[in-house]
Symmetry: C2
Subunit: 230 residues, 2 copies
């Protein structure tokens, strides 16, 4: 669904979640730009991915603003406590018509609380906060909250579904296509962006299950007709 020439910029992409997504999409042949506050750190992260999957991987690293200027498919993988500030800073650099895929979860750990609890976000969810902060005409999508970063950074197929929410049907479909490029993942249309609040809560539940049971929890949605899964 994503044309081979359309790079994916992963903003704040040097953390475990961003690196895991970069690794999986680079393996699938997608061109990736890893964004970071520090261009050198981004470049080192890109080099790290090439070391794993080989020099044919199309992965580069840039400062976050430069990554926005070089791509119109943006994936935000910063912790919640950095989300709003980064989006405000990047606003002038985000190209009109871009798609921003928000993966943020407002875990209470970000303010010294527990990672199995969330903060209330005034707008309803982190994704809806993002939608308030991007330039007009940028479509916001919520997805990828519930994938284990540790498993993403491994080699095995994931045993997890990705529920995708957006008010923009085209951006939603494009994101489903990206999700389905991760081996083992099935992408499900989760409806409007407001439903992101539930996806974000599920991450806190999975964190709690992981702590309690020492696992890498994920979710599968059962009971939907085959055409609901991509």
């Amino acid at each position: 669904m994503n044309g081979a020439s359309r790079p994916i910029a992963i903003l704040g992409g040097t953390g475990p979640a961003g690196m895991g997504l970069a690794l999986r999409w680079a393996r699938a042949g997608e061109p990736i730009i890893i964004g970071s506050r520090d261009a050198q750190r981004a470049q080192d992260a890109a080099d790290g991915i090439k070391e794993i999957i080989g020099d044919q991987a199309r992965v580069s690293g840039m400062e976050n603003s430069a990554a926005c200027a070089a791509a119109d498919l943006l994936v935000l993988t910063v912790p919640f406590e950095g989300q709003a500030a980064l989006l405000k800073q990047l606003k002038p650099a985000i190209r009109p018509g871009s798609i921003l895929i928000d993966t943020t979860v407002a875990l209470a750990a970000g303010v010294g609380g527990r990672a199995s609890r969330t903060l209330g976000v005034w707008q309803g969810s982190s994704a809806q906060q993002a939608a308030e902060l991007v330039p007009k005409g940028v479509a916001v999508v919520a997805a990828f909250h519930n994938l284990s970063a540790e498993l993403l950074n491994g080699d095995e197929n994931l045993d997890c579904d990705v529920i995708v929410c957006s008010d923009d049907p085209n951006a939603l479909q494009l994101t489903r296509g990206l999700a389905a490029k991760i081996p083992g993942v099935r992408a499900i249309d989760g409806g409007k962006l407001e439903n992101a609040r539930i996806l974000e809560q599920i991450t806190a539940l999975l964190v709690g299950l992981n702590i309690r049971h020492k696992g890498h929890g994920g979710i599968r949605i059962t009971g939907l007709p085959a055409e609901a899964y991509q």
Copy 2:
């Protein structure tokens, strides 16, 4: 885990969720009391279950207060908008040391909104509201929010996990045992009762997926070690 002589009273049990649980547990040999505001309606519901699975089924019907007086294992299956009033009414009838399993979800449909959205509950969740309303010494458990009532009322194995939350470890374990009696269900310890807020939200997500995709959605938790599943 539940002794053969310990009946399960399903309060407000004549609706689809209560009937489905009654059917599955009666099939597993558990003695069931269906509770209703109207004793005759409860009795009719019990007769309906006997018609399906045969006269050997140990199912009776009683007015809700009488059901509380006859059992110390209580499952609450009323809609959210009736939950608080019913618990206040039943308070004198609930026996000390009882376990109350709350299945309530505060869907906005209860106040004329959508069933894919929830209301905010001051205490954090419907289950925590229940915990405030039961007599002292009654353990509250949250479970069974995410099972399709339609599938429960059928014959096939369910493809769904039940996450069980409670601040009382014994009540939590006993409820896991009850969940595991439903064919296909795996029961998972979800920790403290406060986590019920996430289980309740997941129901709204599944309702939305069911509407969008015309299915009977459920969830499976993946990635936990085998001993986490009962």
